[in-house]
Amino acid sequence: MSTDSPPASSSPAPIQLSRQKARYGERVIVGFLIFCAVVSVLTTVGIVVALVGPTIEFFREVPITDFFSADEWAPFFADASFGVFPIVVGTLNVTFWAILIGLPLGLGAAIFLSEYASPGTRKVLKPTLEVLEGIPTVAYGFFALTFVTPLIRDNWPGFLGDPPGIFSAGAAGIVLGVMIVPTVASISEDAMSAVPRSLREGAYALGSTKRTVALRVVVPAALSGIVASFVLGVSRAIGETIVVLIAAGNTPNLTFNPLESIQTMTAFIATTATGDIGVGTLEFKTVFAVGALLFVITLAMNALSIWLVRRFREEYE
């Protein structure tokens, strides 16, 4: 019966569309991936929670107006003063010089690698740059103290007045700038290489020079990646501790002068937290208050950059 009846006339078995086998493997993988995502979110939440408690307690003891208006940072003196501005400005001072050096150099290196370098040069330079990212920051600190600072002091032009001391915000800033170049360059370069070749060809076909293609087509199209690299670089500079401890001294000092010794927020936290302070003491809470402020500043900077990217990027598909 089944052999001589044409296949078309036999009533076909219903096609099986429901799932045949439970896909356990897939579930395990999805579960693991969710776990990974949750860990990073929980870590962030944990940090915020850990910061909030002691910070609130800090402000019970120290009025918030003192924190933001007093112009001296001397939390552990007998006659204590909790004006945070000197160390905020210390951070900004160092970061400013780091940005001034690091972002243009990093972007320049990225443009060179992506648009000008021959494939051979690029093959050598790109991995070299990425290796530089892995240099421990303490090495940069000694580089600042034993190379950059002496170099500046020995070649200081007299008409600019006295040379900077052994510890200066400028030397730390310069070295931080150099330190973030690989980060900025490598991420910006990734974004720029991802810009489709067809866009470049379109611009070249209109008689554009390399410079025009790089600056008017590739950079705008890669802007979100470039800004991301800036944010990461600046975050590294703001968050860096060892380099500023070694090269900028550790003296709270409300100044933007690159020639003076300063203290940054991170340097304060590091020196205080490594001393022996008891849990629950005012010193302990001070560290958390400064940490919370640092967190807020970084957050604000990230939000600003997201807004900037949304506003100015030229999106290609």
Partner: protein, 290 residues
């Protein structure tokens, strides 16, 4: 004219006027006028292996010249050697001469940037910049520093490309919101805005529907009055509809089994399609091989 392509020569003023003295007295183009482009024994290599060889041909002024042939025979490669676009591919090398109004584009001291100001290109896949429609068209004149009324150039170019009526109310919007056919016409408008002498078009309609294709074909026929056009196409009807002359390229295998493109036949389009002189051309245009 003689040194217009040299490095540093400043062609900053709008249109790069190429007033060939050989135009017919009545202003209309004649078939006897000197060619705009003429190649002498051009070979193009990728990584030392020839992709196209022994091309010697003249591209007449104010005519549409079509390149047809099977995929991979080197049509794009040859076309890109006409505005030094192959310079952008590190492995590519061009030998022989490509004379543009008698001047060798590959001669020493010739600046590819200058070459591309005179010889524009439209690509197979629409490649608008991720900028507004207006900025796309204004890009060329701006980077060339042309001192022109930009609004006027943008409008004229878009009108030329039969796009103005569709976009005149949204010039400030991103070009990426347009349909594929509109994007391609935008790319044509963008190329026209710098007022080139020659327009190279590499399969400009391959991503388009018949209506958009029809529009672009009409456009080419009209643009012929002012520009010299070279088009690559896979569409035989398109070649017969728009072109005056047709070159048929195909692949030849050499002793080392390298596939190299050659120009088999190059003649008036009518002749290529109705009485081809080579059997390979005949097989191709009658659809027996593809």
């Amino acid at each position: 004219m003689a040194d217009q392509l040299q490095t540093g020569a400043d062609v900053k003023t709008a249109p790069p006027a190429i007033d060939a003295p050989d135009a017919a007295p009545n202003g209309g183009p004649t078939s006897s006028s000197a060619p705009v482009l003429s190649t002498e024994n051009v070979h193009v290599f990728y990584d030392g292996i020839p992709a196209v060889k022994e091309v010697t041909m003249d591209i007449p002024r104010h005519r549409v010249t079509a390149f047809i042939g099977p995929s991979g025979c080197g049509k794009s490669t040859l076309l890109r050697s006409f505005n030094r676009m192959n310079d952008l591919i590190p492995s590519a090398e061009v030998t022989g001469k490509v004379l543009y109004h008698g001047q060798d584009l590959y001669g020493s001291g010739v600046d590819p940037v200058e070459v591309r100001k005179h010889i524009g290109m439209v690509f197979q896949k629409p490649n608008p910049f991720p900028k507004s429609i207006y900025d796309n068209v204004a890009f060329g004149p701006k980077v060339l520093g042309m001192k022109v009324d930009m609004d006027e150039v943008v409008e004229n170019s878009l009108r030329h490309a039969a796009l103005w009526d569709e976009v005149k109310d949204r010039l400030k919007q991103s070009a990426f919101g347009m349909s594929g056919g509109q994007q391609q016409r935008l790319c044509i408008a963008r190329a026209l805005a710098t007022n080139p002498d020659v327009l190279l078009m590499d399969e400009p309609c391959s991503a388009l529907d018949p209506i958009a294709t029809g529009r672009i074909e009409d456009l080419m026929v009209r643009l012929r009055e002012e520009y010299t056009i070279v088009i690559v196409t896979h569409n035989m009807q398109q070649a017969t509809r728009v072109s005056d002359r047709t070159a048929f390229l195909t692949v030849e295998l050499d002793e080392q089994d390298n596939r190299t493109g050659v120009v088999v036949e190059y003649d008036e389009t009518e002749k290529v399609f109705s009485q081809p002189s080579d059997s390979r051309t005949e097989a191709y245009v009658t659809g027996r091989i593809g």
